[in-house]
């Protein structure tokens, strides 16, 4: 079973890598060749060729049952935790510039700790509030790095809370 999972992974990797290499050949054919600046397609095509050869060898090993065994298959609760972490992290990217750093991070920390199994609400809430606060103060004041604002902070500024947010 473990070999089958690694075999599938190797075959999937080959199906991703080979189109990438074909695209390298396709795009490099359209590049200009500046005089006295060497041929720009040599290295990319060389690397793509090496990659195709390696991918085909990997495919051969997978098809002939010689893939390395997968030592720790990701199943059950472990798998759902990783999926949960990935979903909320990618979700954070979409939401942070809209809602703003503070609100998004508060929600993110809350959800993430829940995904990891923390159920003690007082600790959860305190952690979810403290972390964005500390990070905000550290980055905005000590490091002078502005963080994404979003509509929450913009609304607060409009209603006269400009002193809190520099």
């Amino acid at each position: 079973m473990a070999n089958l999972t690694m075999k599938k992974a190797d075959i999937i990797a080959v199906t991703i890598v080979i189109p990438i290499c074909l695209y390298v050949f396709y795009e490099s054919a359209q590049w200009p060749v500046p005089a006295l600046l060497g041929r720009p397609f040599v290295i990319p095509r060389g690397v793509a060729t090496l990659l195709v050869v390696a991918a085909l060898l990997l495919l051969y090993r997978a098809v002939t049952g010689r893939s390395l065994p997968l030592e720790n298959p990701l199943v059950g609760a472990d798998l759902w935790r990783v999926i949960g972490a990935a979903v909320i992290t990618f979700g954070y990217l979409f939401v942070v510039e809209r809602i703003g750093f503070f609100g998004t991070t508060l929600l993110y920390m809350l959800l993430f700790a829940l995904v990891l199994g923390e159920r003690r609400w007082p600790r959860l809430v305190m952690f979810a509030i403290l972390v964005p606060l500390v990070v905000y103060v550290l980055f905005s004041t000590a490091l002078h790095v502005p963080l994404p604002r979003g509509w929450i902070e913009n609304s607060l500024r409009e209603h006269g809370f400009a002193l809190i947010f520099r």
Binding site: L58, L93, L116
Partner: protein, 506 residues
């Protein structure tokens, strides 16, 4: 040659104002990162690089050196207390460190580990100080063909020596090379692989990518293993070893220092190999090898000394040739570049005083973590018990916000998360990450110097093999590749035989 006056001035700079505070803070956090299993020195440096942006370049560099040396040492604490190395570099410390803890000698083991690490690290920092200027002077004779050959050497050694499968190492390295080509052509200025987007015109941001591949990918792994993190229950007493005990380990220190330096200088091999080689040599040459593994001080001193002795060796090729010795030095190199300091022989020519300050910083960092390690040993032991359900989300936020802080661009944050997830997935399926990162660093060096060589020779490839230094390096690269592949294939064949025998027995 090293300028002693500049070196003394370097020490004065390190020990003044914000620099010493940054160094102490860096060491402190480095030890914490090293002590917590799953968090590596590379991850620590990658996580904290964005925090150094607002600092003076030297202050930032000295902080990162503190994190690097502290984290390499800190891994031994978890090895001794919970039989789980804090960092891969401390794996061999488990063999005698944990048995000592079981005998109630955890404090003594940690004390010896601290002093041994300090001795190894200081020795190698001194070697770096004296040898680096000589190597950099030699490297000033290098031209485009030599730099191309160096890049090929670095890549070939890395892809064949890291990970279980050279084939997957090659795939990872080649993908890294292709990723490095995204953006504008370095000589012609036309866009390559940008898919018409303006964000990719400058290529992928290097530091967010590093943070993603080394720090965030490990964060995802921690999510996976969150329920299995062990706890510390040992009480630490008699931390500082006696003078007699240190004297008995003198030969071990000398041997491990030399082993660590040699291993560190070899590309793609770092502290992880140094600790095992140091331990096995100490056992082999001991009058009582049967005692190794039962809990003896020599068994802790040897690997800890060797692993920290490799740090200077890892930095040597990075700072003199622009060739990272391992993943951690690749990240350090990225940090130097962010502060507008390009590692290589020109750094010595144009910033000789700064280089001496860095040497002074490296030597001081190794002394600082010894003081911190002995003083706060009980605190660092407690840190291992930190609740992962709060630590892991903190790591994710630090990665994402750190990446955003580089250019105030959400695309950097996206880059970090994208490569973090990719890094986690490829590590799961045995693709090593180091070749991908080194492919990005060395790919730029390789391609631009190849094109320059072709421009110099008017498209004559013979220029790469008619220059003696370039030819020698390329031959070494071929030799290293062949021996590396053969060694990996033998190791894989042994594994397959063992797996078959185990299946037959069952």
């Amino acid at each position: 040659m090293v300028d002693l006056q500049l070196l003394l001035h370097g020490f004065a700079t390190v020990l003044s104002g914000y620099n010493i505070i940054a160094l102490v803070l860096g060491s402190f956090f480095g030890i914490i990162i090293g002590a917590i299993p799953g968090l590596t020195a590379t991850m620590g440096i990658a996580l904290l690089v964005p925090f150094t942006f607002g600092m003076n370049p030297f202050t930032g560099i000295v902080m990162l050196l503190g994190i690097y040396t502290g984290a390499i040492y800190g891994g031994g604490i978890a090895s001794i207390l919970i039989k789980t190395p804090g960092t891969p570099a401390a794996a061999a410390t488990v063999f005698d460190g944990y048995p000592m803890a079981q005998k109630g000698l955890a404090g003594k083991a940690i004390g010896m580990a601290t002093i041994a690490s300090g001795i190894g690290g200081t020795f190698t920092a001194l070697c770096l100080t004296f040898f680096a200027p000589i190597l950099a002077k030699f490297a000033l004779r290098f031209s485009a063909p030599e730099y191309f050959a160096l890049a090929v050497f670095g890549l070939s050694v890395t892809v064949t020596l890291t990970g279980k499968s050279p084939l997957k190492g090659i795939i990872s390295g080649c993908l890294g090379l292709l990723i490095a080509m995204v953006g504008l052509d370095p000589m012609g200025g036309f866009p390559r692989f940008t898919f018409g987007t303006t964000q990719l015109t400058g290529g992928f941001s290097f530091v967010p990518m590093l943070i993603g591949l080394f720090a965030l990918s490990e964060g995802f792994h921690q999510v996976e293993v969150i329920l299995t993190a062990p706890k510390v229950s040992a009480v630490l007493t008699n931390i500082i070893p006696r003078l007699r005990e240190l004297k008995e380990c003198t030969r071990t220190f000398v041997r491990s220092c030399i082993i660590g330096l040699i291993v560190g200088v070899t590309p793609a091999i770092g502290a992880e190999t140094a600790c095992f080689v140091g331990y096995s040599e100490a056992k082999r040459t001991s009058k009582h090898p049967e005692l190794f593994g039962t809990g003896i001080l020599e068994g802790v001193a040897a690997p800890q000394c060797a692993e920290n002795a490799s740090t200077g060796g890892d930095i040597l090729p990075m700072i003199t040739l622009g060739l990272p010795g391992d993943a951690a030095t690749a990240v350090l190199m990225g940090a130097l570049t962010i502060h507008n300091l390009q590692p290589g022989p020109l750094l010595f020519r144009d910033h000789f005083d700064l280089v001496h300050q860095m040497f002074a910083g490296m030597i001081t960092a190794n002394i600082v973590f010894v003081i911190l390690g002995l003083t706060f040993a009980r605190f660092f032991a407690k840190v291992i018990n930190i609740d992962r359900r709060f630590l892991v989300p903190l790591i994710f936020i630090a990665c994402m916000v750190g990446s955003y802080a580089i250019g105030n661009d959400i695309f950097d944050m996206i880059t970090c998360v994208f490569f973090g997830f990719i890094g986690y997935v490829i590590i799961r399926y045995d693709y090593p990450v180091s070749p991908m990162v080194l492919g990005q660093i060395l790919g730029v060096m390789m391609e631009s110097n190849f094109r320059r060589s072709m421009a110099m020779s008017q498209d004559d490839l013979l220029i790469l093999v008619t220059r003696p230094i370039a030819l020698t390096i390329l031959i070494l690269a071929a030799f290293a590749t062949i021996t590396g592949i053969r060694r990996q294939r033998k190791a894989l064949q042994m594994e397959e035989k063992l797996a078959r025998r185990t299946a037959e027995v069952r």
